[in-house]
């Protein structure tokens, strides 16, 4: 089973967010970057588990500049066999999906996985786009993946429940919580990652169909009104009369 796992680089979840250049650009100063948690915890780890139980390879692919190396090495330390970096700036989802599918079309991967969404722009788009570009099935928000030969049984989250889907390789899947448990890189993994190869490809520049042109911070919350713990009647009144939510 050969896997291609798409990993994005995102600010750590505790990051304080700010913008520069007249609020047109994300301020990377003092930001710690990590692998997008959905890509790492769920997609990558489940691919490794299936590979280890059977055979095959796990390749990670990333679109970004040379400063992404640390994030790619982390994926290799967790256990990916090899890595590809598409040397380009990340603009819109369509561009990223085009780069990745162009690469994937030149190889033969059985399963291409992304996380459910990235925790920066939350587009939830790359997996579906790659699937359409390659005319493959796409299963989004997968919480469980079991393989039996080339047949996959996949659980997927839907509103208020779940769906069980059967499909065959090759397919594209976006991974959600429940797929696997986070793995910590071992010292041996970290050492091994140092010598693993990161293939670098330079794609043609694509003009984006969508651009983020400006950013703003949400309006400040007004001060919290404190209510005495013995006076729940006051809370009920406030919810009914003042904010009218009940």
């Amino acid at each position: 089973m050969n896997f291609l796992i798409c990993i994005a680089k995102v600010p750590d979840t505790t990051s304080k967010i700010s913008f520069i250049d007249n609020n047109t650009k994300f301020n990377e100063d003092k930001i710690q970057f990590i692998i997008n948690p959905y890509d790492e915890w769920y997609a990558l780890v489940r691919a490794l588990e299936i590979k280890e139980a059977n055979s095959g390879t796990v390749t990670v692919i990333h679109v970004g500049r040379a400063d992404s190396e640390q994030v790619i090495r982390k994926a290799l330390a967790i256990g990916a066999d090899q890595a590809v970096r598409i040397d380009a700036d990340v603009t819109d989802s369509m561009t990223v999906a085009t780069y990745i599918s162009d690469y994937a079309k030149t190889r033969s991967f059985d399963i291409i996985m992304t996380g459910k969404e990235s925790i920066d722009h939350h587009s939830s788009a790359i997996g579906g786009m790659i699937a359409e570009m390659m005319d493959l099935p796409f299963i989004s928000l997968a919480t469980k993946l079991d393989m039996n030969g080339s047949v996959a049984t996949i659980e997927r989250e839907i509103e208020g429940g779940k769906e069980i889907i059967k499909t065959q390789t090759p397919f594209v899947l976006s991974a959600h919580k429940g797929m696997a448990e986070q793995r910590i890189a071992s010292m041996r993994g970290i050492m091994a990652a140092r010598t693993k190869v990161i293939e670098t490809l330079s794609p043609q520049v694509i003009s984006p169909l969508v651009e983020a042109i400006s950013f703003q911070l949400p309006a400040e919350k007004s001060a919290c009104k404190m209510i005495e713990p013995d006076d729940m009647q006051a809370l009920v009144n406030a919810l009914h009369n003042d904010v009218k939510v009940i």
Binding site: M133, T167, V210
Partner: protein, 321 residues
């Protein structure tokens, strides 16, 4: 020119989520001086389709197909894309739920369209807004494409009713049999509970509740209010509550009208999942809990004492309605 709205039906029934999409699409069509057309796939009845006119739509394309009662991303994409081409659609509107997430990206590729997901504003000229960095910021996007695909953020556009009935037309497109190699073999929906992403009222518990056996009062509160239950990441990681109740940066992002956080300290990752809520009530015994900074109403007190009192006060309030 037209605005094409995908209205999801589940076993023939239209849900609140698709009505939000209808309201959005109808408004958009009005501002663009064009027609709002609805497409639905599966086994909705023509009568139910016609009744969507109440939300201001004049035409519904009803794609009745036994093979497409459950989601098939490839076939759905071909069908919606063909409808879009046939009706010279410039904007396609979907809902940002599990279905919208699965087909909107495919549609964007097929129609060479720009895609913005989880939009929180009406498309204005070529710009639109959405929440980014887990709600810590708002981004304005500009479309450079002629055709645009938009998924709308849940609970962001109140449903508006008008009058009228819609004309229903059947619509079909051929798709290859191989699309059906991917099949939904089982669907399990919890009945009687409110799906968390669509809930207007949410009651959420944290690790401060000490164990899953203490959720009785949380569920009671949820029952009285008609609310959905949620939890913090710590709680779902400890398997006290199911994963699908986890709200926060790596769980669900929700924007209910009321979010009651009980014994949750309010770590930045948790706030990211709930800070779009209209009103936040925090009950915590630690006055220094960071959640109070994000709250509209705060109660410093032991959840085991406060929640039963709140339940009693709400029962009295409900009984008087």
């Amino acid at each position: 020119m037209s605005v094409l709205i995908y209205a999801e039906n589940i076993n023939g029934r239209f849900k609140k989520s698709c009505l939000e999409s209808l309201t959005y699409g109808v408004k958009l069509a009005k501002t663009h001086n064009t027609e709002a057309i609805v497409i639905t796939i599966g086994n909705a009845s023509d009568t139910d389709c016609s009744n969507l006119g109440v939300y201001g739509v004049s035409r519904v394309l009803n794609v009745r197909d036994e093979a497409l009662i459950t989601l098939n991303t490839q076939a759905y994409t071909r069908v919606i894309a063909e409808a879009a081409k046939a009706h010279h659609t410039t904007v396609i509107v979907l809902y940002h739920n599990s279905t919208g997430r699965a087909i909107a990206p495919r549609l964007a590729v097929r129609l060479k369209a720009g895609l913005v997901t989880a939009a929180t504003t009406l498309l204005d000229n070529n710009t639109i807004q959405k929440n980014v960095y887990a709600g810590k910021a708002i981004a304005t996007y500009k479309f450079n494409s002629d055709i645009k695909v938009i998924t709308i953020n849940p609970n962001s556009f109140p449903i508006e009713e008008a009058e009228g009935t819609a004309a229903v037309e059947s619509f079909t497109t051929r798709y290859p049999d191989t699309d059906l190699n991917t099949k939904v073999i089982e669907t399990n929906r919890q009945t009687g509970t409110i799906p968390l992403p669509e809930a207007e009222l949410v009651v959420s518990g944290g690790r401060g509740l000490k164990g899953p056996e203490n959720w009785g009062m949380i569920e009671e509160l949820a029952n009285i209010l008609g609310a959905a239950t949620a939890c913090s990441r710590a709680v779902s990681d400890l398997h006290w509550r199911p994963h699908h109740e986890h709200v926060g940066q790596t769980g669900l992002t929700i924007r209910p009208n009321l979010y009651i956080a009980i014994a949750i300290s309010g770590a930045i990752q948790h706030l990211a999942g709930v800070n779009g809520s209209k009103t936040i009530v925090v009950i915590n015994k630690d006055p220094e809990a960071p959640f109070f900074k994000a709250a509209d109403y705060g109660i410093i007190g032991d959840a085991f004492e406060v929640v039963p009192k709140l339940n009693e006060a709400l029962k009295v309030y409900k009984a008087a309605l």
